[in-house]
Symmetry: C2
Subunit: 354 residues, 2 copies
DNA sequence: ATGAAAGCGCTAACAA
DNA sequence: TTGTTAGCGCTTTCAT
């Protein structure tokens, strides 16, 4: 079907080697010859076959990326960052999603390995005991984790999740909250959520407060609503401030609280994690720990490129996070069931917007 | 480095053909032989090289996808749908983003073509005059558009954007709005936004209302705020209902209005387009035209698979959209500058949540 | 500056 | 059932 380098060579009356040199700019092609080759290429609409090239050079100029979910903006932003720097370096990006499932992680890696990508950027459930990661290690292929916690022997780009969790606890306490809680995705499928919890617990403990209620939920809305139903059965003992392990969850929690006529932040403050951009546009603007997702993607990509050049060094980047106190978090005030209904109707604006 | 089929053959004392047959399940491998091959494969950690296979079979078992932006959840959802069905069919997904830029579209296609993907799913700025599309056409490669309007000669999966725009106008009018407006991304880079406008104008016109104000904005927040500054200089003549060409824009518009102390929906109703999931969680819940993005992705993927089997037929799927009236849209009421400030402080709850 | 030819890892006739 | 072998499209020595 498509023209090959041979067709071009024939038409231009040169050897395939010459065509190859012309195409790749491996110069040494005389002006006149170049013209002939160029003409032939255009006539035949020749487009070099990267598969043939890859087989010959044993480099595909493509990298793989595995993320838990494409639909979570935090990962999409990272993909966007990776994609940006990789494209400018002439690499293609093969994307796979693991759906937070360890088996899927494994098969995704398998596929990428068979496709002979030059390197992989990925987020796994838990690097400490990841079959995916050990498969990768013995494959010798360069790889860099993203979002995952630093773990002996692996490169990664992330933020200090423990410190961030601690920051959240401190912020809540500073606002006067005494009963704190955390709603999180499954810790088993997120080492960073676990780390955030660790920091959060530390902060609460240091302040001498009661250990916070911690609830794990899956990825369906009904689980969130069910969890809140239990947690807020008695408003007098329920947490007045809730830390959610990610923004999507936080948004869902806020929605759920509203449906239960619990005002945010008047009755309950909510702080998320990630800093996805919709969070700052919504009302109340989401209080959250912002991690620089796109930049994290770029950084991971650059690390991978380094490895591709300089061999298997190890890179660990901890980028800095920012605690952004949006409108969804405010000073503690008494949770009084009696005024709950009227309060929920008015979203106070004592706190400034900007 | 990595073991090849030859190494395996040698170790198992069989021919490469036998190994190939074993690996591909092209049966006809006797039990005893199979055992030996299996053992050899494991000892050597042999992993078939898809590059070699592709060169031989002239099929890469991979498809390309080009979307305007990875960070817009509406596209991410489509990617997710495509990814799902493609993976179950054993295909890899190479993702590229065009950033709404026609030049980037072109180079993305070029790259995918060189990589010899088996097919492409893409959203272009404007199919009617797309160089990307014509390049694709003459390449003979199967492809299917997604989100783009039906256009002679091309396969696509989308919703009826004209009808949807019309629905939005009707809904606003039914709510009593008389002065309508539309805020849209650049029409030049979105045929669907243009189609939505067409339907919207028709609806307004049919009702005998004044032609709506239509403002095009770029993708930066400040442009939105600038646009609203002009549009809402005089509240007495400004639109009481705003149609935004996509949800991200709508969310941004709502945020911007709030900052201008204009209450949504008490003073201005806002309706978006896409139905991204965060929209339904936020407050006010976003009124919007829901398109089944993930299902659209799946459908496009299935179309592509059909083409891969049955050759170049043409598939056009118009999936149905749903106008979901969330809390961001409500009955018209007088825009009275005098009460604007107090009103903006209270978000009324006369309209039901569910 | 250009050409000839040997592979890269695999599949698929064709033989046996 | 298994083996032999000729490519797939390209790069890259090694000659010229």
């Amino acid at each position: 079907m498509a023209a090959t380098i041979r067709d071009v060579a024939r038409k231009a009356n040169v050897s395939v080697a010459t065509v190859s040199r012309y195409v790749n700019g491996t110069y040494k092609v005389r002006g006149v010859t170049a013209e002939r080759v160029k003409a032939a290429i255009e006539e035949l609409s020749f487009r070099p076959n990267a598969v043939g090239r890859s087989l010959s050079t044993s480099s595909t100029k493509s990298i793989g990326m595995i993320i838990p979910s494409i639909s979570n903006p935090v990962f999409a932003d990272a993909v966007s960052g990776v994609s940006d720097v990789m494209r400018t370096e002439g690499y293609s990006l093969t994307l796979a999603s693991s759906n937070y499932d360890v088996t899927d992680e494994l098969s995704a890696i398998s596929t990428l390995l068979e496709n002979r990508v030059d390197g992989i950027i990925l987020t796994v459930a838990n690097p400490a005991q990841s079959k995916a990661l050990s498969m990768l290690e013995k494959s010798q292929l360069p790889y860099c984790m993203i979002y995952n916690q630093p773990t002996a022997g692996h490169s990664t780009v992330t933020v200090d999740n423990v410190a961030a969790g601690y920051d959240v606890a401190r912020a809540m306490i500073r606002l006067g909250h005494q009963r704190l809680g955390m709603i999180s995705g499954k810790f088993a499928s997120s080492d960073r959520a676990y780390a955030r919890r660790t920091g959060f617990l530390k902060g609460v403990d240091e302040a001498g407060l009661e250990p916070p209620a911690i609830v794990e939920v899956g990825y369906e809305d009904e689980q969130v609503s069910k969890a809140l139903e239990n947690l807020y059965a008695d408003l007098n003992t329920a947490p007045t401030a809730l830390f959610c392990s990610n923004d999507l969850l936080a948004i869902s929690v806020i929605g759920s609280l509203r449906r239960r006529k619990i005002a945010v932040p008047d009755q309950v403050s909510v702080i998320g994690f990630d800093g996805i951009s919709v969070g700052s546009h919504m009302y109340p603007a989401l209080a959250t720990v912002v991690q620089p997702s796109k930049e994290m993607g770029r950084t991971a990509a650059r690390h991978l490129l380094e490895m591709l050049l300089n061999g298997q060094e190890q890179y660990v980047s901890i980028l800095s996070h920012i605690l952004r106190l949006g409108e969804s978090a405010g000073p503690a005030c008494k949770l009084d069931p009696a005024v709950s209904q009227p309060l929920s109707q008015n979203t106070s604006s004592k706190r400034s917007t900007t």
